[in-house]
Symmetry: C3
Subunit: 210 residues, 3 copies
């Protein structure tokens, strides 16, 4: 089996766990955990495969669904032990983001051969699971958080694409890009890294913007 598939399983599993954590924060019932785990776990990859016009990955291999269900049950019975479930959610989301920006870029590159498409697919599919989760659970979107988020996905996708096209072995390029993406997002979570936010005029507040 192609070792990069491991990133796919890892991405699905940790995104599923973030979906279940979101369900725990909304105090849903156990079925709500299963539902949000599945949608978050398979959402990003589903959109990726639809756009690339390849068979949606979990149709061909329902193991992915079972992984999502297992993660939901695991979170249901262990989440109360966690000090801050929202911190855990953000860190797992960071792992999922790093795994999926690399895997998405690889799949985009293999299917279309275009580096630009690879970077876009990696970025979109790394971020889409979290967007879907936050929309469904009615949480503030992770996209609008102040620290660096999408940047980590773009960086991972670019590093993978450049390294792989430049001739690095697949596994080396994947590990390197995963580490870059995770380091950026993890650093942002740990140190609060952020880019300067847009401000049309100094002192203006969001409420004033028409």
């Amino acid at each position: 089996m192609n070792p990069i598939i491991f990133l796919d399983y890892a991405g699905v599993a940790v995104f599923a766990a973030t979906g279940a954590l979101s369900a725990s924060r909304k105090q849903l019932d156990v079925i709500g955990f299963l539902f949000l785990a599945c949608v978050t776990g398979i959402g990003g990859g589903t959109v990726r495969d639809l756009i690339l016009d390849v068979t949606v990955f979990w149709l061909a291999n329902p193991d992915y669904i079972l992984i999502c269900l297992a993660m939901a049950v695991l979170v249901y019975f262990t989440a109360h032990r966690v000090e801050s479930r929202y911190r855990l959610l953000l860190w797992l989301d960071a792992i999922g983001l790093a795994a999926y920006c690399v895997f998405g870029a690889w799949k985009g590159l293999v299917v279309t051969g275009s580096g630009i498409v690879a970077v876009v697919m990696g970025t979109l599919t790394a971020t889409f699971g979290g967007i879907l989760r936050d929309q469904l659970a009615g949480e503030p979107s992770v996209l609008l958080r102040p620290e660096v988020y999408v940047t980590a996905a773009i960086a991972g996708a670019v590093v993978f694409t450049v390294a792989f096209v430049a001739g690095l072995p697949l596994l080396a390029a994947a590990v390197l890009a995963f580490l870059v993406a995770f380091a950026i997002r993890g650093g942002a979570l740990w140190f609060g890294w952020s880019f300067p936010r847009y401000r049309s005029r100094p002192g203006r507040r969001p409420e004033d913007i028409r």
Copy 2:
């Protein structure tokens, strides 16, 4: 014509009506009724067909669009006679959910042959129309309501899949599964059935959850 197609028409029509009722609650104009009726009526099935990689059902047969438009007009001229439009919306949504979890499971089973995929397709497509409606209309998501919702869709999809694979005639399996799903969701609406909600520690309130 395959008699199970009736479930598809019924699901589209009642979901379209819920979209129009949502438009009435938001006091949209008549075009808003048409738009929300179409999106809610055909949304779930569109996602189902995209994932299954079959022709989207309303491309092949635009009658579905005409049904949505007719339901929108009907609701526009009759909704004021209803005591509580939100109750009506929830009950019609229950019928749509029951029809679509069976039809989605059947289509998933026919296309992929996998029981797990059938259950997931039935569940996702039964719930997706309502999710889309609530997101577009800016209403609180039906997913996050306290009573049992997704469970009814899962139960209907499981009952259909098991009964059909076990050899029951298609129509019998479909009617049985429809009744199970509708009884669960209807019972939940009528009696307020709910599962215990997740609570990390007794007495903790949602606002305390980090």
Copy 3:
């Protein structure tokens, strides 16, 4: 090159600009501008192509992505000069709506041959980019605004479909339909045109509606 392709480029570019303007209103960083510009610029056309089961347009030609990135940078460095960025967003959105309802109807007609499908595809794809933008940025949906919006897209799609099927040259039908759609949406923005809103009983307020 088919001259109607120009409408596609124009639609992508102005929708991308509205996404970037939305990012500026949310005071996102420059990466947020790039992300919202891409999602808004290519979102409507992506859904259109998925439903029509043709290759997603930006996979075949990554220039569209570069256009979105260029628009994001342009807006990032010029938006502060604009008196009201929300007014500008609405007017650019009107241009995108007019361009995309025509282009979507044309593509729907070419692929399926059905006039009803053409009108639905034109309408859905003209409105979907804006819906996605508002959902992602957490802004009130442009769909729920009081003035005429979806109507302009329907009118443009209907005029194009009727004119083209009636034998008008492609370019003439496209220009005519674009002008109709833009005139309706522009008139609605300028003069505040709106249809009567649904009201179940005179004097009832939205809060009273159950």
